[in-house]
Amino acid sequence: DTAVSQTPKYLVTQMGNDKSIKCEQNLGHDTMYWYKQDSKKFLKIMFSYNNKELIINETVPNRFSPKSPDKAHLNLHINSLELGDSAVYFCASSRDRRTDTQYFGPGTRLTVL
């Protein structure tokens, strides 16, 4: 069984569109995260949720809106996509907000044309 899964794996879309990326973890973890990895492989945290509550909200355009329907899911919705949003987006989870080990999903490669 996949611990942290993301859909879709690849997403190609036009500028201005709205898209969502879904993430699910079956580890029973309380805390989930979204990261963005740019073309230079620099990985930067965007958001973190603990038991459906937003606990980390980095300097991210408000076109990005995370949503956690339950603690096993953390989705990322992006409005009005821009060229600069092209990147690989990783979801991760950890047992709780203080536990070091984060388990990453396989990533979603977003390409905005």
Binding site: K44, F90, T99
Partner: protein, 111 residues
């Protein structure tokens, strides 16, 4: 702003060679982690170091945390092609699992 600088950025070596990757910062971190990422996959945690001066070994990989908890190193002995990948260090920036990542070292080990 806490930053982690990794060096070298790229490393291309022959099988059997030894190598060291460095992760440096001017900030103190409560812990530092090393991850390995392969193409098309997410990072996978290798080790977490918490105590200043701590040394941890994982088979042919040796990890060290600096005494002042500002830097760390990863040493690989007798590298193998299977060690090829992107090595990332990450520091806990605030004790709430907010990880700050370095830019990574891309290692290629040739047979």
């Amino acid at each position: 702003t806490q930053l982690l600088e990794q060096s070298p950025q790229f490393l291309s070596i022959q099988e059997g060679e030894n190598l060291t990757v460095y992760c440096n910062s001017s900030s103190v971190f409560s812990s530092l982690q090393w991850y390995r990422q392969e193409p098309g996959e997410g990072p996978v945690l290798l080790v977490t170091v918490v105590t200043g001066g701590e040394v941890k070994k994982l088979k042919r990989l040796t990890f060290q945390f600096g005494d002042a908890r500002k830097d760390s190193s990863l040493h690989i002995t007798a590298a193998q092609p299977g060690d090829t990948g992107l090595y990332l260090c990450a520091g806990d920036a605030g004790g709430y699992n907010k990880l700050i990542f370095g830019a990574g070292t891309r290692l290629a080990v040739h047979p």
